[in-house]
């Protein structure tokens, strides 16, 4: 019972279905089924690590200098992006060569930056590292869930039976919209 309720709560607060954060990214990644799974996993890592690092940034930046927050967050994402590239290069150069053209899509997007900003907004006056980490992980899992939901219908949304003008990206938006509507009805 607890698991079911938690799952639905997670879905209701999903960054794609309720906040539309990272919709463009999921649509770009969904052009290839393999890319979608790869992007979702990478974004989950980026949101978790990014939100965790946002904790330290928030500690450093005072409330008077909030205008610098976005620059600071983008710098954190850039750092994570470089780390991810270096790690891939060390693990396997073939994977690095394939991934280097796509990994920036998983790093610089609204899902990662948005999850950091959401963690920042949630932690007003209460800077606890765990909350930042949890918020980032939840956002990442939400993105992963959304990509799983999209993968399930991938074949149907790109089928030749779908009218040419709606095939792919428009049908995907409507599909996400209907799932989002069902979640909205639960609120």
């Amino acid at each position: 019972m607890f698991i079911i309720t938690q799952l639905i709560t997670q879905l209701c607060a999903n960054i794609i279905f309720s906040q539309a954060l990272g919709t463009s990214t999921i649509i770009i990644a969904a052009r290839n089924k393999k890319n979608l799974a790869f992007a979702a996993c990478t974004i989950m890592l980026f949101t978790t690590a990014g939100s965790s690092l946002a904790y330290f940034a928030d500690k450093v930046i005072s409330s008077e200098n909030q205008n610098w927050l976005m620059l600071c967050y983008v710098s954190i994402i850039a750092l994570l992006y470089v780390c991810a590239l270096t790690l891939l290069w060390l693990i396997n150069k073939n994977i690095f060569n394939k991934a280097k053209l796509y990994i920036h899509i998983s790093a610089f997007n609204c899902a990662v930056a948005g999850s950091m900003l959401m963690a920042h907004n949630k932690a007003v006056g209460m800077h606890i590292f765990y909350n930042y980490f949890k918020s980032g992980l939840e956002a990442g899992i939400g993105f992963l869930l959304a990509s799983l939901i999209l993968t399930a219908a991938y074949k149907n949304l790109n089928s030749s039976k779908v009218p040419a003008s709606f095939r792919g990206f428009p049908a995907m938006l409507v599909y996400i919209g209907i799932i989002s509507m069902a979640l909205y009805a639960l609120k």
């Binding site: 079911i4 779908v162 009218p163």
Partner: protein, 375 residues
């Protein structure tokens, strides 16, 4: 075969429409002409939307496209009596255009169109959809319901208590969607549709099993039988189980797979009913779990494909083994023949001691000839 399939699709639609018409008749008996006009409006707009959509996508409008009529009827039966006509009409337009034809129409149905239409109405006009007139409040064509009350589902979800007699429950003498409360008729419809194989048996059994399991494990009321009774009769559970969850267009084809879709829908609906108390959760969860149904369908197709490839591989293996056996038999036969030939040579050698080489050469030639013939 194809003709049978096409016929079957039409008969499914016809059977479902007949059962829905019976529910509509009951709704007329309880609430008057307003429900009939609502149903006609829903059917008419669904038909027009389907026709325009089909024509716009340069396809032929056939009798199979008439499934839109049953979708329209399902939407009208889920509405409260005396509702503003615009709401069910807009729900029907949305169901047909957004829920169905954008994804390619009846050949590529992802969501149950009726469920999508109902959800659209629920999210846009929540207050109007969750207030119901009392039974026998006969509402005229141009009238709107005057006295509205919360549904029996709301009372059950929030208080966990409901005092309805079995007779009232069976005949649908309580507040709710016009066609979703006639429990006796719904039970008869379920039996007919199951026997005629018009709805998915697996999904139906799964949904029923899920609700029974949850009612036994964590009952809403102190009495399990009461919980069972009210869980199935309120919140459109039975209606949604028959016409939405068990819709053969959206569920996996094999009962084994569709069972899980029905089961999970029921389990999640029940769990959320206990924790949130939201009304008509079965319809919402049925839409939300559509990706699960799609994934199960995909799994079903994959297993089917793997099975077919396995049989092909097995047949090829068997053929290879058979050909190997034949080849082995031939070589054994050849060995036997060469043995006979050598024995004959020996015998000839023994008989005619001097002309050995010439005779043995001839015998060898005869032996080779036999071998080639056998091969």
């Amino acid at each position: 075969m194809l003709i049978n399939k096409a016929k079957k699709e039409r008969f499914v639609w016809l059977d479902i429409t007949i059962t829905l018409a019976a529910l509509q008749l009951m709704a007329y008996f309880y609430y008057g002409l307003h429900t009939v006009v609502t149903a006609f409006a829903c059917v008419a707009f669904s038909f027009v939307c389907e026709y325009i959509s089909v024509r716009l996508s340069n396809k032929k409008f056939t009798a199979d496209n008439l499934t839109c009529v049953s979708d329209g009827l399902i939407i009208s039966l889920m509405m409260p009596a005396g509702i503003d006509y615009k709401i069910p009409v807009m729900a029907c337009i949305f169901a047909n255009v957004v829920g169905k034809n954008i994804f390619g129409g009846r050949k590529n149905i992802i969501f149950s169109p009726a469920a999508v239409g109902y959800l659209f109405a629920l999210t846009s006009w929540k207050d109007k959809l969750n207030m119901y007139p009392l039974p026998f409040a006969r509402i005229g064509i141009r009238e709107q319901a005057k006295e509205l009350a919360v549904s029996a589902s709301y009372t059950f979800n929030t208080t966990g208590k409901l005092s309805l007699s079995d007779y009232d429950i069976l005949l649908g003498n309580f507040c709710g969607g016009v066609g979703t409360v006639s429990i006796l008729l719904l039970l008869i419809s379920a039996v007919i549709l199951l026997f005629r194989r018009d709805i998915s048996l697996g999904a139906f059994v799964g949904a029923v099993a899920g609700n029974v399991f949850m009612s036994v494990v964590c009952p809403v009321t102190s009495d399990i039988s009461d919980t069972l009774k009210y869980v199935f009769t309120t919140n459109m559970t039975l209606f949604a189980t028959i016409f939405i969850i068990s819709d053969i267009r959206t569920t996996p084809h094999k009962s084994y797979y569709s069972f899980y879709y029905g089961l999970f829908t029921a389990l999640i609906s029940y769990a959320l009913l206990l924790t949130t108390g939201i009304e008509n959760l079965s319809v919402i969860i049925a839409v939300l779990l559509t990706p699960l149904a799609l994934a199960l369908k995909k799994l079903e197709d994959k297993i089917k494909y793997l099975k077919s490839t396995e049989t092909i591989v097995e047949t090829v293996k068997q053929n290879n083994e058979l050909s190997e056996e034949i080849a082995a038999d031939i070589s054994v036969e050849n060995d036997d023949i060469s043995e006979i030939a050598s024995d004959a040579i020996k015998e000839i050698n023994e008989i005619s001691g001097n002309n050995v080489s010439a005779v043995s050469f001839e015998a060898a030639q005869i032996g080779e000839g036999d071998i080639s013939e056998n091969a």
